[in-house]
């Protein structure tokens, strides 16, 4: 059967149409990834906690707000230049104001302020942050002086050049003290820092119910966070300022306990899964085809050697050996793929050999040989084409096996840390106990994606069946 005809047969079945549709989606998403992701995404971003510090931890996807309780949205404010500059004598105050509506009954999960590279000549700048609430009250919860000039330094002095100075207000003792002061001043509520610990946002985004316990009524409305940076020299500069009021939900797919945006990781998994599956199966199929045809066609010692080897290889249980080798040789994706190829070809070789033997005893080979065709021409121009549909079907069938093997290995904690895969995301969820805590958004999507990807190829293989077995085609019609 010729390719066009085969494609028509595949498309005639529901599974074929579904498979091709899904494959198109997978390929499309995979092609998008290289445009948006750096190549070293795994090491530089995914497995770098700093990159995710300002995300809420273990937050469900934003769309969960559509049902059930309203969790606060995640707000990140970045500014490179101040919204206002006030000159008071030699000092210049840069005001960075960020206004946002807080409508949720729950407070933000954390607050943080980050200041980028700061350069000063004379005195070190002072950073402070004030939160203005809908009830008109304002709390200054951050006041910090940038570390001053050391004896060995000469102006201009640069601070936070490598990475921004990030103040995690939620866990900052000074902020607790400031908040405690604020509560006493405004509401006459006396709470120690220890009592406030973990309730900072509740206090700042609520009104005390009494003046004894740490109980608050949520206060919704417009909040403004103003960050002031006071500098004392005209040449001083502040690169950027960020304020984060972390939400209870995040993005399309939520976050994990490290605050990683799962949507980003899952998206990155698309091309990785396809590359693992397709390149492994293509390589294994090429090897298997080559050895199968060679073995069946040559006979003699070549045949015996290839068959013995293939026999032994297929008898080795793959996953245990894979675990062992990856454990010993290192967690490298290329290694996983190589091992899958090495153990993947013999199955095809054994089947192809018996098919070649059948074809070889047929008259096509005899006829072509009599024409003077070389062995290679007979093997790869005539014999190969006879088996091409079968080989393609086997290749498709092997693809999900490779994807599932990698996922299984990742699930055991032997994934390649430089390349996040769906299996690794799931494994981290599993190890963190996500199933027991109920972080379903961490566990379900990667699994569903693995199943859908594997399913795509299984469906295609299923649709190939009538191509391989014409008798089935007849009965189906």
């Amino acid at each position: 059967m010729r390719p066009g005809e085969a494609l028509r047969v595949v498309l005639r079945s529901g599974s074929g149409r579904m498979g091709i549709g899904l494959l198109a989606v997978l390929v499309f998403v995979s092609l998008l990834v290289p445009f948006f992701y750096p190549l070293d995404f795994g090491l530089r971003f995914w497995n770098n906690p700093i990159a995710w510090a300002d995300n809420p931890k273990a937050a469900p996807p934003a769309w969960t707000n559509l049902v059930g309780d309203q969790a606060p949205s995640h707000r990140v404010f970045d500014a490179e230049s101040p919204s206002q500059t006030v000159e008071t004598g030699p000092a210049t105050t840069r005001l960075y104001s960020f206004t946002f509506d807080h409508e949720s009954e729950s407070p933000p999960t954390f607050l943080s302020v980050s200041v980028g590279e700061v350069t000063f000549y004379d005195r070190p700048p002072v950073i402070s942050m004030t939160l203005e609430r809908p009830d008109g009250r304002a709390a200054t919860i951050l006041q910090e002086v940038v570390r001053g000039q050391r004896p060995d330094e000469t102006p201009p002095v640069t601070r936070f050049a490598d990475e921004p100075r990030r103040i995690y207000l939620t866990g900052d003792t000074n902020s607790l003290t400031a908040t405690s002061d604020f509560l006493q001043r405004e509401f006459d509520l006396r709470l120690t820092e220890a009592e406030l610990q973990g309730n900072l946002e509740t206090a700042l985004f609520g009104t005390p119910t009494g003046n004894e316990a740490a109980e608050f009524t949520p206060l919704t409305g417009e909040y403004t966070a103003t960050i002031r940076v006071i500098t004392y020299d005209a040449r001083d500069s502040v690169e950027s300022v960020r304020f984060v009021a972390a939400g209870g939900v995040f993005g399309l797919m939520g976050t994990d306990t490290q605050g990683r945006n799962l949507a980003t990781g899952l998206m990155f998994g698309f091309p990785v899964a396809l590359i693992i599956g397709i390149s492994t199966s293509v390589a294994a199929t090429i090897l298997g085809t080559f050895f199968g045809i060679l073995s069946g066609f040559s006979g003699g010692r070549t045949d015996t050697i290839i068959q013995r080897l293939a026999d032994v290889m297929t008898n080795i249980p793959l996953l245990p050996i894979l675990i062992f080798l990856i454990f010993v040789l290192g967690q490298k994706l290329w290694l996983v793929m190589t091992i899958l190829v090495i153990f993947g070809w013999p199955g095809l070789t054994i089947i192809l050999r018996s098919m070649v033997l059948q074809v070889r005893s047929g008259q096509l080979v005899e006829a072509t040989q009599a024409l003077g065709a070389s062995r290679w021409r007979i093997m790869f121009r005539h014999v190969f084409f006879q088996m091409a549909p079968f080989i393609v079907a086997q290749m498709i069938f092997f693809t999900p096996a490779a994807i599932l093997a990698e996922a299984g290995l990742s699930f055991l904690g032997l994934g390649d840390p430089s390349l996040p895969t769906w299996g690794q995301i799931l494994e981290q969820g599993f190890r963190t106990g996500a199933i027991f805590i109920g972080y379903w958004w961490w566990i379900l999507p990667p699994g569903i994606l693995i199943v859908i990807t594997a399913m795509t190829f299984v469906l295609l293989a299923l649709a190939m069946e009538p191509v391989l077995n014409p008798r089935l085609r007849e009965t189906a019609s």
Binding site: V312, P317, P320, I323, F324, V328, M455, V458, L459
Partner: protein
Amino acid sequence: MALAYTLGLRALSLVGVVLVVLVLVVVTLGATGFSDRMLTAIVSEEMRGQRQALAETIRDPERLEETLRERRVDLEEFYGLDDPWYTRLPAMVGRVLTLDLGSARNLRSFDGSSRVTDIVLERVPYSMMLVTTSLVITAIIGLWLGAKLATRVGTRSDRLASYLAAASNALPAWWAGILLILVLSFQLRIFPSGGLYSSPPPDGELLRFMDLLWHAALPILTLVLVSVGAWTYVVRTMLLNTAQEFHVTAARARGLPEGQVMRRHILRVAAPPIATNIILALTGSIGGAILTETVFNWPGMGRLYFDAITTADEAVIVALTFMFTLMYVAARFILEVLYVVLDPRVRYTAQ
């Protein structure tokens, strides 16, 4: 004679497999320096014991250290640590064969032993229990369902089953396990999420056994779920191929009742190829078992693998790799025997 010859050949080939795996494991260990580390660990452990024993008899600390140093050199020589790794190959193969791999780093057996042999061997029955039970259940369902579908090719139920088979084929065991835990354990609270017994385990033999079954239910269900689709599909396809063979038409022509045609002329004839396919599917089910045990914290060899990887316990990993190969090869041989028994063509003629 031919039967014994055929089986002998298979057995030989499978022994070859075990040897190849052993050599692969040992060479990998040697070339990467792992075997040095393992042997050094064994030496250090023996030294600890000797230090305690000697400390009782030799009072002089310097002499003690001196003696210990000598002993250590002796031991290193004994284990071949002073020679390059490849000279130790045969000895190392022997060690793996007998699971004489010293002590685990952190892992302990249920009663606290740190010997690798103890840790690994006590897990075997639990793994066997999962694998065999699920295999039997899968086989029964697969044969029954496959036979049902083969009689109605092209119908809606056949197509539906094909999709389900595809889904089952694409379903990783561990993820299926996680789903089952989420639904049946956390949402509906019907089954426990893992482990072997409740804590505290109930009193009485029968109750304890029931408790074990209750805990095994989800892992077994997982393993059945992920393999039953492929089984059904294989059975269906094989039966279908056989049903298209002419001798089946000939049997129908003789007016034999349809049930008899199905039983004697289709199912029985398709049995050898079905067995072949099952042999091929075995490696998958071993992998599935490793992952399923991990998910359900089932104290079998698979979970041990996970723990060993987590604690980087190489001796245990080596032992497990070997044990899994051994188990697999044994299972495979049983199926080969079954195949030969099923097919008179193999039984009475040499290949």
